[in-house]
């Protein structure tokens, strides 16, 4: 029982990063009704860019690395928008989807090329802190990951519901044409969505690097899949859904890893997804069908 609680809580704390990746997918889908498959790769790419700071100024604090990853993620997000969505006609979703796949391969290969495929160490904060309650422990670095992720989500929700940009974003996601008629520049809102999700992705990538301890290009594919699963379980386009589903998938995965081993773990996560597809295809919080 203690093992179960321990692995579940570790998983839920780590699941906060899945939630961030899931939000990135879901937000772009909500606004543009398109899938950005390059997102997880761009997030990991952002985290790598954060490491450049250590290269330039050796001994830079972990905080600086995270901040660098945050900014680099935003820049990469804008680049993905420019290369995969800006010039491709809206009426052609397949081309945009394929272009994001090309971008995924490109970012992946740039990382492999620059690091020779060797995993790099990633700095962490509070990794020597352990909160103990009897035999039950909470790892300090995982707690930090959880708190940072939650702060980012709160920031995103504030942006969406308290600012003019957020208002415009929500308007575009409801009815792009109507929003355009009201004088909202849809293209700019789309680009800003990519920048915002990119910022979130960069910090998510950094948090994953910090909690795993290393960063490797092998992370991109599983992260893409986990992020998409989180998006579906939470309901496409739903931000609270993505948060809850992210924590759920994190906990579920960690518990199964404890009891069934690391090679079978992901198989059960896929099964969880199929259970949702069959019994609740809209996900936990399916947004009500809008007019189109």
């Amino acid at each position: 029982m203690l093992d179960f609680l321990q692995s579940a809580s570790d998983g839920i704390l780590f699941g906060a990063t899945y939630a961030l990746i899931g939000i990135g997918f879901t937000l772009v889908f909500g606004v543009m009704h398109k899938l950005n498959l390059a997102y997880a790769a761009a997030s990991v790419g952002g985290a790598y860019c954060g490491l450049l700071i250590v290269k330039v100024a050796a001994g830079a604090p972990a905080f600086a690395v995270f901040f660098g990853a945050f900014l680099a993620g935003g820049v990469l997000g804008y680049l993905v928008y420019l290369t995969c969505f800006h010039f491709i006609p809206v009426s052609n979703p397949l081309a945009a989807l394929m272009a994001t796949v090309g971008m995924l391969l490109l970012i992946d290969e740039i990382i492999v090329h620059e690091t020779d495929g060797v995993p790099l160490n990633y700095p962490a904060m509070f990794d020597d802190v352990m909160l103990r309650v009897g035999e039950f422990t909470l790892r300090g670095d995982l707690l930090m990951v959880f708190v940072v992720s939650m702060v980012c989500m709160a920031g995103l929700l504030a942006l969406l519901y308290k600012t003019r940009l957020g208002l415009a974003t929500r308007a575009v996601s409801q009815q792009a044409v109507a929003a355009q008629l009201c004088g909202i520049r849809v293209g700019r809102v789309n680009a800003m969505t990519f920048v915002v999700t990119g910022l979130l992705g960069g910090i998510a990538g950094a948090m994953i690097g910090a909690s795993v301890g290393t960063l490797s290009p092998l992370l991109t594919t599983p992260l893409t899949i986990k992020g998409l699963i989180v998006t579906v379980i939470g309901g496409l386009g739903s931000i609270p859904g993505a948060i809850i589903a992210g924590l759920l998938v994190g906990g579920f995965e960690s518990v199964l890893q404890q009891f069934r081993g690391v090679t079978e773990r992901d198989l059960y996560v896929m099964l969880l997804l199929f259970v949702f597809l069959v019994f609740r295809p809209g996900g936990l919080f399916a947004p009500k069908g809008g007019r189109d």
Binding site: F29, H33, K34, L35, T83, C84, F87, I88, P89, N92, L94, A95, A96, L97, M98, A99, V101, G102, M103, L104, L105, L106, I107, D108, E109, I110, V112, H113, T221, T224, I225, L228, I229, T231, V232, L236, T263, E264, D266, L267, M270, L271, L273, F274, L277, V278, P281
Partner: protein, 301 residues
């Protein structure tokens, strides 16, 4: 010369994979599960020839049927969801298949050697072609026989009522439904045909490489399967072939002299191709232009 025959084998098998995604794309469904059906076909055909001692043709027939059956079974739950949800569902299915074979052990001792798939190590010694003394050229012709068969089938579909129905569903589901088309039947049947072609391709793949492992059937292969018809264009089956030759012949083999940089260019070229030709290489105007060349000026008038 054997090098070019080998390349032609790769192109042939990838064409089958691309065609399996092509027919599903015609109905407007984006399926990343084709690599999964391909893997099922590869393992089934390999086990039949190696462990059960079957001949190649019945083994390929069974692997094709198996791929179709799995695709049909996946089609029903997966097609409850639409559009981008389907991308994710099929992506997860493909990964689930790969992870299944990662954990799959089934070994039989034959003549003192243990044969059969072993989890992470994969399935070695699928040596039907070498054992029966087929040359590289014969294998290549064998593969292309199936490719031409599959292309002819899809080309004929395109000119039949069934092809029109497929495209109608792809263009506008609501309109198709309101003229009395059964959406589920059309989508699941397209998925099944796609699964059969992928299963066949997988069976052939297992025999020409002689060694299959779970890692070859990952998300990369699934995106390749999808990339061929999208890069080539959905107007004609020939688009898929053109795209396979472009990717496997030009990008993978032709750019080998670039060494490390080849992989970098690969992703960038896909991005570029989609920006410049969003409807694929062989889009409607391009086909019209080619048709004019073949028919001469009278045909154009």
């Amino acid at each position: 010369m054997d090098f070019y025959f080998g390349l032609a084998q790769i192109i042939g098998v990838h064409t089958l994979l691309g065609l399996s995604a092509y027919i599903v794309l015609l109905t407007g469904q984006v399926s990343l599960a084709q690599a999964g059906f391909f893997a099922v076909g590869a393992y089934v055909a390999g086990m039949l020839t190696v462990l059960a001692g079957w001949a190649i043709l019945p083994a390929l027939a069974v692997s094709s049927l198996f791929g179709g059956a799995v695709a049909c079974a996946v089609g029903f739950p997966a097609l409850r969801v639409k559009g981008l949800m389907l991308v994710i569902a099929t992506l997860a299915f493909g990964e689930a298949v790969r992870l299944f074979f990662f954990n799959f052990d089934y070994q039989v001792a034959k003549g003192g050697v243990k044969l059969g798939p072993v989890g992470g190590e994969g399935f070695r010694q699928i040596r039907y072609f070498p054992e029966h003394g087929w040359t590289t050229m014969e294998v290549m012709l064998f593969i292309w026989g199936f490719v031409i068969l599959a292309m002819a089938l899809l080309w004929w579909f395109d000119r039949s009522r069934y092809g029109a129905v497929l495209r109608a569903v792809g263009e506008d589901e609501l309109a198709a439904q309101s003229v009395g088309i059964n959406l589920t039947a059309v989508k699941v049947s397209a998925m099944t045909v796609g699964g059969m072609i992928a299963g066949l391709g997988g069976g052939i793949y297992a025999h020409y490489t002689t060694h299959i492992e779970h890692a070859s059937f990952g998300i990369l292969l699934a995106t390749f399967a999808l990339a061929y018809p999208i890069l080539g264009g959905l107007e004609s089956v020939f688009g898929t072939v053109v795209a396979v030759v472009f990717v496997q012949g030009l990008l993978v083999e032709g750019l080998r002299f670039l060494g490390d940089w080849r992989n970098l260019l690969f992703g960038a070229l896909i991005v570029l191709a989609m920006n410049v030709r969003p409807k694929g290489f062989l889009d409607a105007p391009a086909l019209l232009w080619i048709g004019r060349i073949f028919r001469g000026r009278r045909g154009a008038a």
